[in-house]
């Protein structure tokens, strides 16, 4: 009898513990392009030696922000109906990390952009969108990889802040 009583208690607890859950709408996907729209100012530059990383050398990367007036560099991206439209760079006294003054831009995938291509007539500059984290918080990390004969040798990470 006692056994049935305990079974009844357990079943009753389990049944009363259940209640309908409200599954909230996950909402619209995070619009990366919308977050990229606007004016950005360079905050930090990190240079990495990919060979040194690959082979575990002691000196792999350095923060070169203070080595030149990089923080004067600005870039602006505009959208047209949610699609990439125009870009403008304003180097100020900074080295021209993007050697195009203006033009159009495009991405490889509007929902999950990875490759950003800046176009000025026949000249293009390709940058990687290094991460989406903090993009919505006004931080943009663009990455340039430099190659020689198809071999990746150098990487620059450019950290921008929305202004």
């Amino acid at each position: 009898m006692q056994k049935y009583f305990f079974l009844f208690i357990i079943l009753a607890t389990a049944l009363f513990a259940c209640k309908p859950e409200t599954i909230h709408d996950i909402g619209q996907p995070f619009d990366k392009l919308k977050s990229m729209e606007g004016n950005w100012q360079l905050q930090k530059v990190v240079q990495a030696d990919l060979n040194a990383i690959k082979y575990g050398f002691p000196y792999k990367e350095i923060d070169i922000t203070s080595k030149a007036p990089f923080t004067e560099f600005k870039v602006a991206f505009t959208l047209n109906n949610g699609s990439p439209a125009a870009f403008t760079t304003t180097p100020g006294g900074s080295p021209k990390i993007i050697n195009l003054p203006s033009g159009s831009w495009k991405v490889d995938n509007a929902q999950t952009p990875k490759l950003v291509t800046l176009i000025n007539n026949l000249d293009t500059v390709k940058l990687d969108l290094a991460t989406y984290s903090n993009l919505g918080n006004g931080q943009l990390q663009l990455r340039v990889t430099k190659r020689l004969d198809g071999k990746d040798l150098l990487r620059y990470d450019y950290y921008f802040k929305k202004i």
């Binding site: 240079q47 990495a48 030696d49 060979n51 040194a52 082979y55 575990g56 050398f57 002691p58 000196y59 350095i62 070169i64 080595k67 030149a68 080295p95 050697n99 430099k146 190659r147 020689l148 004969d149 198809g150 071999k151 040798l153 150098l154």
Partner: protein
């Protein structure tokens, strides 16, 4: 007068003998001792020009520190008078030949033990041959501490080049004792002509007897149109004291680095 003619003749012959090595191209352009590399060379003008069958004779680490980089012949060097099949180059067209190899397999050494290699091109029986090639470096696969460090290892004309002077690693007694002050950098173009004026900058102390300076070639210099920056040299200078305790300037060792066409 005859001596001058003889000397000029020798120099001319040496220049001609080495000329064919200006035509060499490597694929990939940068390679470690673990990478398979293919080089193409035009032997026109050399003693082996016009031959349809050519063979390679190669060796590594000549004049390098033997403790770290032992000198060794390639596995192709079995018999000068009868080159083996593995040494045979592929004739592409006329005087243009190609050869592929991997450093570790060719020389039977670990990748960290290979610094550079050389070769000559010969006929099968060795009756004709080219001069020795210059030393072609393997991209390092192990870190070698040096008093004159450059970061990153490969640089282009628009890259930040960071020069470091690790005084504790200096082997020159003047450099060991001096108080480092400046670095002087000179850029050279494709014709080996100096671009603009050499620039001298004050060094930054990184602590622990390390000094540095960083620059971007095409930011620090105005590079004329149609000019390719091929290399730069630099030396760290400072002050020391003579036997009487009087300050004297010290000029450090001049070093050189290639500027690659990174894209």
């Amino acid at each position: 007068m005859r001596k001058i003619f003889l000397m000029a003749g020798c120099l001319l012959m040496t220049a001609l003998a080495k000329a064919q090595f200006n035509t060499i191209t490597f694929k990939p352009a940068v390679f470690t001792a673990e990478d398979n590399v293919t080089f193409t060379i035009d032997v026109s003008g050399s003693d082996v020009a016009g031959e349809s069958e050519l063979y390679i004779w190669t060796w590594c680490n000549k004049e390098a520190d033997p403790a770290n980089y032992p000198g060794k012949d390639g596995i192709t060097n079995t018999d000068w008078n009868s080159a083996p099949a593995i040494a045979k180059m592929t004739q592409k067209t006329g005087n243009i030949f190609e050869f592929s190899f991997t450093g570790t397999s060719m020389y039977g050494l670990d990748p960290g033990k290979l610094k550079h290699f050389q070769f000559l091109i010969k006929t099968k029986n060795g009756s004709k041959k080219t001069a020795d090639s210059p030393k072609f470096p393997f991209d390092p696969i192990v870190f070698i501490p040096s008093a004159y460090r450059v970061f990153p290892g490969k640089v282009g004309v628009s890259d930040m080049i960071n020069l470091y002077f690790h005084q504790d690693l200096a082997t020159n007694s003047d450099e060991q004792r001096m108080t480092p002050k400046t670095v002087t950098v000179t850029l050279y173009d494709q014709s080996d002509a100096v671009i603009g004026q050499p620039k001298t900058w004050n060094l930054l102390s990184e602590g622990n007897k390390v000094w540095s300076y960083s620059f971007i070639p095409n930011f620090a210099w105005t590079i004329p149109n149609n000019t390719t920056v091929k290399r730069f040299t630099w030396h760290f200078d400072g002050t020391g004291v003579d036997a009487n305790g009087k300050p004297v300037p010290v000029t450090g060792t001049t070093n050189e680095k290639t500027i690659d066409a990174l894209k």
